[in-house]
Every structure is written in C-alpha cells, then in structure tokens.
Symmetry: C2
Subunit: 355 residues, 2 copies
C-alpha cells in the first residue's frame, strides 16, 4: 500500500465533493490501485486553512465547513498564514485545486499550481482559468519536474475528454468538433421551451443551483468560449485565447424566438465548434436553430455532448447527463489516480483483469 498525500485548495461545492468521493471510494482505491489517499492540507479563502502531516479527518472538515466553522480549529500548529505558505510547507504528492474561475488572468490559481509543481507535486485543477491562461508554461513546468498538469474536470465535468484523446486516440488528428458544452444555458433553453421567459428560466436555473447569482458568464457564452479555446489549444495543438473564439450568447434570444422555433419543430441551442483550416483553427460559440436530424437537437437540460471529427475515426461523440459537483470531483480523482498509479503499459489495471 502506498500512501498518497494530497493538498486540497478550494473547499466549496467541488472541493467538498472531492472529499466525499475520497471517503466513499477509499476502500476501493486501496484494494484496486494499492493507493491510500491522505489529505494533509486544505486551503480555503473563507473557511481558513488546515494542515496535518498525519492526515486530516475529511468527515470532520466537511462537518466544520458546513456548519460555517473555520478549519484552523483542527489544524496542527503552526497554522500557515495563507494558501501560498500552506503549499510551501506541506509535503504532498499532488495538489487538487478548485477555486472559483478567474476568466481574465487565471490567478491566483496559476500561482498555486506553479508553486505545487515547483515543489514536485502533480497539479490537478477543475478551474478553466489556469488552462486558458497558462497551459503551455504549466505543462512545461510539470514535464521539467517529471510531474503532470491535469485538468480533466474543466470540460464536461468528469466525462473523460482529455484522457480519451491522450490514451484512446493516439496518432489521431482532430480536424473539427461541434457540441453543447455549457449546461446552464442548455437548461435555460429547455426551461424556455417549456414556456418560461428568459428571466424566469434563469431564476429557476439559479434555484436549482445550476446558474450562478451573476449568470452572465454562462448566458453571454464566456464559459462555452473558454471551453472551446481549451479544446482547440490542448487537443488541436493550436494555442488560442478567448479573443480568437467568435462568441455570441443566448441573452439575445426571446420567448418569441423559442416559441417560433418550437412551432416549426426546431430548437435553439448554444452550439460550440471549431474547425481546422490549414494551419489555423476557426472557433465559435453561438445560438443555432437545429432540426431533429441534428444529434445536438436531443441534448436536453443540463446534458452536454461533443462530436469529434478526426482523420481516423469519422465522427465520435461523447455525451453526459446529470453533471454536478460530484462528477466534477470525479474528473479530479481520475486525474489523480492516473498521475500516481503505476504505468498502465507496465501493469494492466486490475479492473481490466479477469477474476
């Protein structure tokens, strides 16, 4: 049994779901992968910090934070003064970061991930900011330390998009993709088809915990555009920023638009896409009116889907339903296990070995 020490930065919905998943999967990860996961530090902006080289109790941390308590009360002395100090003073094998996204700069997450990699940890994030703003330097830094920078949870939550390309599709060239990558707007459009106004649909999505209090990151297409830029940069090998994604949101769509489409047997969807044209890539996000023959027509509510067109496989589509903090947390856990488990080339995964 090998002990894997972890540092969690961010302990909101996703960070807490990581803790719950580690608790519920502990026995299985020990028996199948021979790994004992141990959280030795938790850093938050609003609930304090905690560290214990012998391992923190995740159930106690969850209880404390949910009661509005401060993590400092069960940390080992001395308590670090801030997250940077926590990272510097914690011996861990991997950092799992899930703080809120900063679209403009990717900070402070980039700083945290950089510190972790410089100290020889694997750096795993659920945060799109560091990927869009620092994919190349963080990947290079990881490689120079023999470690990994991983971000499976940034696009389609825990659905394995990046590992699919990394392991499942070697020597394939991604020529184009098309999909629905923002759950919140897809839910809003579904609710509008059921007769709600845009504002009422947004309010309902907020009540369900899907839309944020300021929904503009989703409704104006920013979240979808950042995901498109990440897929183009990482999977197509053409580094682009948000400015290179043509972006329109769903905020221009009215109840009348939705009803007229519906009466014609059609549906509005916020469609993402990118296409290789010579050396460059054209990338876009915008509302499109789809007919029932379009596979994306059938993606409803918070579901999402992406169709990849490559030189070797024609169309390959991945879709997921029912995303949430738990599926995002699973994306991070999958990254972690892939970073620390023995190479699959040398030893096949026991789950793929017959009893």
């Amino acid at each position: 049994m090998r002990t894997v020490r972890l540092l969690l930065i961010g302990f909101g919905n996703v960070g807490q779901a990581v803790a719950e998943l580690v608790l519920s999967k502990e026995a299985e990860i020990r028996s199948v992968h021979g790994l004992a996961l141990q959280v030795v530090g938790i850093g938050t902006a609003s609930h304090g910090l905690a560290q214990d080289p012998d391992g923190l109790s995740l159930s106690r941390a969850l209880g404390l934070v949910r009661r509005g308590g401060d993590l400092r009360q069960f940390s080992r002395q001395p308590i670090p003064s801030d997250i940077e100090e926590l990272i510097r003073h914690t011996q861990a094998e991997a950092l799992l970061e899930s703080i809120p996204v900063n679209y403009e700069s990717g900070q402070p997450a980039i700083g945290y991930l950089t510190s972790a990699l410089e100290r020889g940890m694997h750096a795993i994030t659920a945060n799109k900011g560091p990927v869009i703003h620092a994919f190349a330097p963080l990947t290079a830094l990881a490689a120079s330390h023999g470690r990994q920078f991983r971000f499976e949870a940034t696009v389609m939550d825990g659905a394995p998009i990046f590992s699919l390309w990394r392991e499942g599709l070697p020597a394939a060239r991604l020529d184009s993709f098309r999909g629905i990558l923002n759950s919140t707007t897809n839910l809003i459009l579904t609710l509008m088809e059921q007769g709600r106004s845009f504002d009422a649909a947004v309010a309902e999505a907020q009540r369900l915990g899907i839309a944020e209090s300021d929904p503009s990151g989703d409704t104006e297409g920013w979240d979808a555009a950042i995901k498109v830029a990440i897929l183009v940069t990482v999977l197509m090998g053409v580094p682009i920023g948000l400015g290179q994604v043509q972006r329109r949101g769903i905020d221009g769509l009215t109840e009348v638009d939705i009803r007229q489409a519906s009466e014609a047997g059609r549906r509005w969807k916020l469609v993402c896409g990118a296409k290789r044209i010579g050396e460059r890539v054209e990338a876009r996000v915008g509302p499109e009116q789809l007919d029932p023959g379009d596979p994306l027509f059938h993606v409803m509510g918070t579901s999402s889907a992406v169709t990849f067109v490559s030189d070797v496989l024609g169309e390959l589509t991945i879709s997921e339903s029912a995303p949430g903090p738990r599926t995002t947390a699973y994306g991070m856990l999958a990254d972690l296990i892939n970073c620390v488990r023995p190479s699959s080339a040398a030893t096949p995964s026991p789950s793929l070995t017959a009893a």
Copy 2:
C-alpha cells in the same frame, strides 16, 4: 527513433486497412511518438505467408494480394510452412491478428495469440473469438511476460471503449450499459424503414459490403451478444459466456412490424444491455420498439452507441458513425501505440503538449 517490428496475421479487409494506415500514418508516428513501425511478417490463410527481418514493403504486399497474388513470392527464404511457424520464427514486438471470427472456439486465433505472448510479443486482436473464449488466460499470460493483450477493435471498431475505461474512468464501477452494438442489423432496420423487405434490406446491406454472405451471425443477434458478453466480462469484471446472454435477433421482425412502429412514430432497434444485480449481471440482446425520447432512437444506419451508467458519472454515452475496415484498423493501431509507447505517466503525450 525506436523500431517496432510487427507481425500481421490475417490480411483481409482489416489487415489490409492496418497496412494502409501504417503507411499513411508512418511519418506522424515517427515524429510524434518516436516509433518506426516495420512489418516483418504477414500470415494469411489464402494468400500465403511472407517474412523479412529487414521489413516487408507494405505497398507491394497490398498490390500483390489485391491482384490475387501470393505473398510467398516476395518473402525471404526460407518461407515458413504455416502461421504457427511464422510466429515461432519471427522476431517481432507485437502481433496484430485479424482473421475471421470463430464464435464456437475462438481458434485458431487463440493459439496464434498464445504463441505470440509466449515469445514476448504484445498480442493485439480485432477478433471477438479470443476475447470471449480466452480473456482471462490471455490476460494472465500477457501479464506473466510483462506484455499486453489488447482488443480495442472488437467492440465499436476503433471507438476507444476499453481504453476509455482503462485510462479515463479509474475507480469507477460500471453498473449497467445499454446500446446498439451491431451496425449491420441497424442498417437493415434503417433500410426496412425506408420500405424494403427484410430480404431486400439484407441484400442491399450485402451489396454495400456491410452484411456477410451468411448474414445470420448479425441478424440472429450472435455478434451483438458476443459484444455484450465481452463488455460484461472485461468492464464489469463478471466473466460470462455467450450462453449467459439472453439473445433474440431481428430475423423475427416483419415489414408490417416496422411499418406499424413507423406509423406510431416509433422505431425497432436491436438493443443490447446488461445490468448488475448483486454479484451477478443480467445481459440481453433483443429487438425493442423505441420512442423518439430514447437516445438510441436516433442511431441510424451503420452508427452505433453505448450508454454507460456508473457509480461516479451518471450516464456517459459514446457513439460513432461511419465504421469500416479503416476504423477497425485504427483500433488496432491505437492498441499497438499504447502497448509500445513510453508510459504516459512518465512522459506526457507530445500531442497534448503545447507547441
């Protein structure tokens, strides 16, 4: 640059597509993966055998076989007397086998794969027979030699199903799956919806090169059932044989059935599924009448799809369109690259590293 010597057993549609893919992807595999692929032996039942330790010309082999020629005429002396001797006398790093499936015993493919593994080669097959009849012993034999037994191409052609579970979904428990896994019957049903009789639809599918001259393996559900048994055995960890899959084909469906469903806005599909019930798994293949709310309703022609329900991700669906010998060949090539490339945990795939 590392030279990887390969032995191809079977040189029909799929074997020839492997050769074409190796030719077309040669430069990319050299530059991205640092691997020089070299075919040092080809064994066929009807076109003879060839070996050359310095590498055979694939374009010449393709030309010869397509003109009905015999591979022996460009083999180095002495020419092996049969495939077993070819395997014994060829120094190769991997064997890629794509001979016709034998549902009953999995032979002679199991023997070829066993010989290859015993000689320290990786064993890669596109053939369902060895997986259904010998998954456990071939996997154990591979492990005992530090090699791999891989079979990505056996289910949904080159769509990365097994690597998805191996690398993308660690510590996930597959609880159930449901899908359309046989392209031929799906095409026949699509053609019947367009007004053809069962026999005319089968004839058309044969003309398109999709259905075999004896279509019963597809129409009676055998091909679908063997794929279900493979997924249950490999991904659910519950070894089952063909006898444990409840099987009905589409041969009982009439034009009247299809038309009546169509008039009601519904569609018949050959649906595959399996579900964990305690320690055991219930597995089935059979025609079902689906309504438009079912995601499988929209899988048309030769497309296929499977939805996996796991404890960590809810529903995850993979679908592919336009399968063919080239996509099957890609599944084998992906297996090969994953067997021989340096561990991704140690060195990230260059395709995922920013320029």
